[in-house]
């Protein structure tokens, strides 16, 4: 029973970390760029919100499989393709949870506006300096929301992992898949324990996020 929980927490943590590191520059670009095609990129980032997880899972299976360039690359480097590995479900989760992290961060960057950045420039801060010493601190509430949503969404993720995980105990069998197995196998007692735990966890996460956001927001307003 503890294996799936541990894997889930590990997966959510790593996914969130990657998304914060990769997603923040993307969110910054989306908030600042004047390129005409940027909303196209924004739409691609938002796609996982509307795509059924099984569709994404199937495409990931193809995209990461041995026929694809990515699959051939990973085979050359690691000697195997990514599906049915922990790294594989991390890749899936990163893509699947991406909009939930990037969107709030982008909104936070949008909300900062032009002025503080101009002020920083007149105070000798280079664009990169400005990003780290002004934009990031001011976007803290958005970063927090993004991190919490990304974490929570990864914990609750099911369809994509089912498709590319292969349900391997101790490696890719996450909490939601374990619950599903129990339900399907009519082991409702076990399912109840895990489900209730997930329910309580989600509630606590969302509640604490709202409280924290309110506090941080008040401090920055």
């Amino acid at each position: 029973m503890w294996d799936p929980i541990w894997i889930t927490v590990k997966l959510a943590f790593i996914t969130t970390l990657i998304l914060l590191i990769v997603g923040t520059p993307i969110a910054w670009w989306l908030a600042r760029s004047k390129a005409w095609w940027k909303e196209g990129v924004a739409a691609i980032v938002a796609l996982p919100i509307v795509l059924p997880p099984t569709v994404m899972g199937f495409y990931l299976l193809i995209a990461l499989g041995p026929d694809s360039p990515i699959g051939q690359l990973t085979t050359q480097i690691f000697g195997r393709t990514l599906p049915f590995t922990f790294a594989g479900i991390v890749v899936g989760s990163v893509i699947y949870s991406m909009p939930f992290v990037i969107q709030p961060i982008r909104n936070a960057f949008d909300a900062i506006g032009e002025r503080p950045l101009e002020v920083a420039a007149t105070l000798r801060a280079s664009p990169i300096d400005t990003f780290f010493s002004v934009a990031l601190p001011l976007a803290r509430p958005g970063l927090l929301t993004g991190a919490v949503l990304g974490f929570a969404h990864t914990v609750g993720e099911f369809g994509v992992i089912l498709m590319i995980g292969g349900n391997i105990p101790g490696e890719t069998k996450v909490l939601s898949v374990a619950i599903y197995d129990h339900v399907e196998a009519l082991e409702w007692g076990q399912a109840h324990i895990l489900s209730a735990g997930l329910l309580v966890f989600s509630f606590v996460v969302i509640l604490s996020m709202m409280v924290l956001e309110k506090r941080l927001g008040r401090r920055l307003k």
Binding site: L61, I62, D67, F84, G166, N167, Y180, E184, A185
Partner: protein, 263 residues
């Protein structure tokens, strides 16, 4: 010729559909609602067409995993006939008192095959699978089976591996699909070199190579049907149950990769 037949079927279907919807249906034509296990999808569609042509009754098919359909049925889903992929669920429905007594019977038996998308991999040329050593060879990094806990085909796959004496050796290579369709996708996309799936799936696709697992290696995959109480008074439902036992139905079922249990 084949085209003509399809168009004919389509015309009949459209006619049946429109007549059912638009025109007041004749007293003899009724509608039956059938819950079908996902692995039987293609076969059920063929059966429904033939049934409609024969009787004029309309068939509404709903597909899903046996477990999900069963859960829906005990919670009052409006199905009249239940075509499961196993014996257990129809039996439990019977125990719950949801079925018409004595209606439960095995309408088909599933067969499993070892499948690879590589057209040569399972080309054994006379040697037995055990001798070839394919399953345990290093060329196989992933072997996909359906989840044995939830899918009957997964259980059969596990049983086969055990009987072949290779289970301990390949345990680390096994990946599980939620159902047999997903398992097939794993192999179809090349992410798993081998998969144990239903013959019905392998039969749908001409590519790849397969090895039909001998019947003695796994307990029969009896797929049972049951007439639900909701359908008791429905002529179409009763007619459909009878049609399933007919020779015409048996031909279709066999053609699409199942066998018929010899009572």
């Amino acid at each position: 010729m084949y085209q003509c037949k399809r168009i004919f079927c389509l015309v009949v279907f459209v006619f049946a559909f429109t007549s059912a919807v638009m025109i007041t249906p004749p007293a003899s034509a009724e509608k039956v609602s059938v819950a079908v296990a996902a692995n039987f999808t293609a076969t059920a569609k063929n059966l429904a067409q033939a049934f409609t042509v024969n009787t004029g009754h309309e068939v509404v098919l709903s597909f899903g995993s046996t477990g999900k359909l069963f859960t829906q049925i005990i919670h009052g889903a409006p199905f009249e006939v239940f075509l499961a992929a196993d014996r257990e669920r129809p039996k439990r429905a019977e125990q719950e008192g949801l079925t018409v007594k004595g209606s439960r019977f095995t309408y088909a038996q599933g067969k499993i095959v070892l499948w690879s998308r590589d057209p040569n991999r399972l080309n054994l040329e006379g040697t037995s699978l055990e001798q070839s050593g394919i399953i345990e060879s290093d060329a196989i990094t992933r072997l996909a089976i359906a989840n044995p806990k939830t899918a009957p085909y997964g259980r059969a796959a596990l049983e086969t591996l055990t009987k072949l004496g290779v289970y301990e050796k390949v345990k680390g290579k096994i990946v599980q699909g939620e159902n047999v369709a997903q398992t097939y996708q794993f192999a179809y996309t090349g992410n798993a070199e081998l998969a144990i799936v239903s013959l019905a799936q392998a039969a749908l696709n001409t590519g790849g190579s397969h090895w039909v697992v001998p019947r003695e290696l796994y307990a029969p995959l009896d797929q049972q049907a049951v007439l639900l109480k909701r359908g008791a008074g429905n002529n179409a439902a009763n007619a459909f149950m009878n049609f399933l036992k007919s020779n015409e139905a048996a031909v279709i079922i066999r053609k699409l990769g199942y066998t018929i249990k010899q009572e």
